[in-house]
Symmetry: C2
């Protein structure tokens, strides 16, 4: 059998509206970010499983024979939806991990081992394979990099084991799985996310699986019908922040000033809904007026987030710099630094975009010209990937 | 009879919280600003009425004899609460005003003639007098300069005509009228404001009369009990704006995004009420913690006003500059430029205040170190006034 190569990609995510408000039962809109994670899976007969994660400098190898001999029955635990500490400990043992590796590396390897064993254990023999995962997404920036990682792993392993069919037809550059198969990918990716995050919301893997945009409220995830792809600048201020501390500070402010903060959260929720409505209209016939409304919503929400106390001088700077170029920005995610998004209207010329990007980079920020509402998890032909992506994946 | 000299002063006003929201039935807090308008009234027997307004370069003289012969019955029109166009035309005729003088000058003179004739016409003979009114307040900056002007005129004329008693006792530097007399002053000042503004809310003259702070909602004016005086920087960005256009733009935004803007206005109203509550606590025992809460409220409301779309780059600059000095600011009044206030906590050293003031002046702004919650209309002894005020009033 010739080595089969699978090339899979999945998008990151940004919160378009509703960050922080969502913690208090309000509506959030999450959208697929077209900075993608790419996975290359090659089946072999070398009796090894090689995992290569060039972004974090990790290479791991396991013998298929020894993995085959493991008792993996602990992975079947009925209704348990979050891995127990005991399961996590066993997984670490199986993965051959010592405690001295850094936490995020450990968790990326653990999630792989978990998904590999769980998905492939029903095969007669575990597959030998090389897997490389490389991402355009900065890690730990709230852009759903672990969700995209889990989605890529789930899609590739399910396909490699024949649980779902490879939808790519000869001559096609890119293809997507059926809805049913995507449900399965999403389910497994969610399990992978649980290994990494403990108790994730499920939003990141859902956005990365389905692409486009989805509404999230009190645990309910509803994909939007035909959301438009919108060009944006994604800017990372690189100011480190603790989302946990920020969420806690909003809670304190809500307790301190309930009469002030409760209607503010209601206003934020209404921004999410209005944005959802506008995106719906844009699906039919996108017009410049829609972009102008989206800009107003971005401005209002950025002020609201500042009123909640989750702004930061670096984000003020980001907004000010893009404003000077006639563009509108807001923080995305936790705030207090981190990332911001800037909407690029369709009437902008490329030099205007370049000038804004340059101005942001002059502030010391990382800046990507990309889009939101991107395609969800996809399978690619080898020739359809850009050279830098190919190079990164070939680095094994 | 020796010439009697009356020296009167009245404060300006700023909106502490609730600007714009008040237009939509929400609560606003207006506070007396200790930039004052001063009036010097000297009774004579020279048969003249001399009005001197050095701020706007106006001197006017009328013969008491000819004023005495006028038919001023048109000033008594029963329940009419706003001067009719006909009354305004007659007033202009009486005042000897041509249409070629600038509008604000015209209105200041008209208000004087109106108050002089209305208040003094019940005297057997109209009094001969010199009146000089000079203000520390910049005109047309939304700081209630016309309210303070009307209050000074009403207080001085009512006292000079013996309608109310001069409360100043020998040896006292400053004194205030009784509550009953203040009611009368306020009533007449409101009439003066109507001549100047057509249909004023009555807030400016009320704050200028009573001093301190008052709550305003849907036409109801409620003075706060014992509000504390708070030190502030008052900054005039000198960016011209149209309050009318800004009020109209907020209304448009409310109509466009009712679900977003309605709760935002509710949040602003809650800020006013929370501020009122804190000011009440401060009356009993002011503490640094109160100032910290006031700062939080200022920050939140400034973000809310930005979310309403009434901010301006100059006001962002003002907030940013004071923030760099550890101080918190918001726009006051209409926004879109105009004035901002910066709270000065009690723990600040004078050099810190000076540095912030200097930084604001370096932006091209005018900046005053003053206070809010100031004393309402007062009568002063000649020796109690500062030299610059004396000089300004002596310029006749």
């Amino acid at each position: 059998m010739l080595p089969e190569v699978l090339l899979v990609s999945a998008p990151g995510k940004v919160i378009l509206h509703g960050e922080h408000a969502v913690v208090h039962g309000k509506v959030a809109l999450a959208v697929a970010l077209n900075l993608r994670t790419f996975l290359r899976l090659q089946l072999h007969s070398h009796g090894k499983v090689n995992l290569n994660l060039p972004n974090i400098g990790i290479r791991r190898t396991w013998d298929v024979t020894s993995l085959q001999q493991l008792d993996t029955s602990f992975l079947e635990q009925g209704d348990v939806t979050v891995p127990t500490p005991e399961q996590m400990e066993k997984l670490k043992e199986v993965a051959g991990l010592t405690k001295d590796c850094a936490n995020h590396e450990l968790l990326a390897v653990l999630a792989f081992v978990y998904l590999y064993l769980s998905i492939c254990r029903k095969q007669r023999t575990l597959p030998s394979l090389d897997i490389t995962v490389w991402s355009e997404l900065p890690a730990g920036a709230g852009l759903g990099s672990s969700g995209a990682y889990s989605v890529c792993l789930a899609a590739a392993l399910l396909t490699a084991c024949g649980v779902i069919a490879n939808p790519l037809k000869d001559g096609e550059p890119v293809s997507r799985w059926t809805s049913e198969d995507l449900e399965l990918i999403n389910k497994w990716a969610f399990h992978g996310e649980k290994v990494i995050h403990g108790n994730p919301s499920g939003v990141d893997n859902a956005v990365s699986t389905w692409g486009g945009a989805l509404r999230y409220q009190e645990g309910r995830i509803t994909p939007l019908k035909r959301p438009p792809a919108l060009k944006i600048l994604l800017t990372n201020t690189k100011v480190p922040r603790s989302t946990k501390a920020l969420v806690s500070s909003v809670r304190s402010r809500l307790l301190k000033f309930p009469e002030i903060v409760t209607p503010l959260l209601a206003s934020m929720s209404a921004i999410s809904l209005e944005c959802e409505r506008v995106l719906g209209e844009m699906a039919a016939a996108p017009a410049l007026e829609h972009y102008l409304v989206l800009e107003e919503l971005i401005d209002m929400n950025q002020h609201h987030l500042n009123a909640l106390g989750v702004g930061h001088a670096s984000l003020d700077r980001l907004c000010q710099v893009t404003r000077a170029h006639g563009l509108h920005s807001k923080l995305t995610g936790g705030g207090g630094g981190g990332c911001g998004i800037t909407l690029l209207r369709t009437d902008l010329e490329q030099p205007q975009v370049e000038a804004a990007k340059q101005a942001l980079e002059n502030c010391g920020f990382d800046c990507w010209e990309t889009s939101i509402g991107a395609l969800g998890v996809s399978v690619h032909s080898a020739t359809s990937l850009d050279a830098p992506v190919q190079q990164a994946l070939d680095s094994l």
